[in-house]
Symmetry: C2
Subunit: 194 residues, 2 copies
DNA sequence: GTCTATAAAGCGATAGAC
DNA sequence: GTCTATCGCTTTATAGAC
């Protein structure tokens, strides 16, 4: 691990990995110092609030990344189908084709959800709404777009669970391919019908 | 909490709830003694191997319940469509319509998966295969049944994540309804085509 | 079978030197 | 900004009385 002077932003990704792999409770300071190469002194210099502040900062960084690279493009890109295809590509890259887990999902499942309730809820709610927006632009009926978007977001989370449970990242890859068909396969059809 | 002499089998469900709510690392002996009403002496009398043995016993109990009430009926019931409908009903009841989380899924996501690797993998693999079996009996093409079963199992897990993240159990209920349509809605069609 | 007392280790967090 | 030393508390686990 690099032993030079570091910045808070540099260690956030490393912190993220530790929380992803061990969960909030399992992510001990010992794990964190080992992964980051920083002593407790440095850690508490950057995060006076301790572990809770570290986790909140990681969540905020993840949130910003998804807002910038996933949610905003979903809302802004005029071609809904292209927007959805881009989302699936970025999601595949972010989750390393099923080899990396979703920290927000991990937090959601345990009782630490309550500590980060707002951040967890907002992440998934905005993902669902942004995807529903894009779906409507593909010509999907407004009243089904919401449920279809929810179905897709939840499938991504479930695929991460199953891929890890079965120790088979291909589950995730297959799921993304199926989602593309489910979300876009009928888009041309819908559009043509109008 | 009942203060009389207890049996190992009586405390397993309570242990399950603690592990579900806090995860393996977060489930401290303090939480466990509080929930079960048993002192450490009793706990170590029943589970000499400590927390790890407790978690393994809970996983085994869950496995047995699903084998008996979900997997076996899926494989045995001649009417595939009825078998799948039964599964969805029992899953809805087990997960309390989205208010209860899947312990095996929770374990799968963190690094404790490695400790219970075999049990976690077997649970999901058998669920997927049993459901694929039932799907084939509805007339679904053998080569798509496997992927459709995988999609359903993973949707259930994802719905539990999202329901908790959004603090909205209805996400789970909606997902089960959608799965019934997706798995069986076209069953009559498939059967009729033959 | 259940309890309390206790051991030994690990935890998150702080202080203060550099 | 980084480190080491240390505090006080919680952790898992054991021992032994009842």
């Amino acid at each position: 691990m690099a032993r030079t002077v570091s910045e808070r932003a540099d260690i956030l990704p490393l912190l993220g990995e530790v929380f992803r792999e061990h969960g909030f409770e399992g992510a001990s300071l010992a794990h964190i110092t080992a992964r980051t190469g920083l002593g407790k002194g440095s850690l508490y210099h950057f995060f006076p609030g301790g572990k809770e502040e570290m986790a909140a900062a990681v969540l905020a960084e993840i949130d910003l990344w998804f807002e910038t690279n996933v949610f905003a493009p979903l809302r802004a890109q005029e071609d809904g189908a292209a927007a959805i295809r881009d989302m699936l590509g970025r999601v595949d890259a972010y989750f390393r084709s099923g080899r990396r887990v979703c920290l927000v999902g991990v937090f959601a499942l345990s009782e630490v959800r309550d500590r980060f309730c707002g951040q967890v809820l907002s992440y998934f709610a905005r993902w669902r709404e942004a995807l529903a927006d894009a779906l409507r632009r593909t010509g999907r009926a407004p009243d089904t777009a919401g449920e279809d978007a929810e179905d897709a977001v939840l499938a991504i989370q479930g695929a991460l669970v199953l891929a890890r449970a079965l120790d088979d990242p291909a589950v995730f890859t297959r799921t993304l391919a199926r989602l593309e068909r489910r979300l876009l396969g009928m888009a041309a059809l819908h559009a043509a019908q109008q």
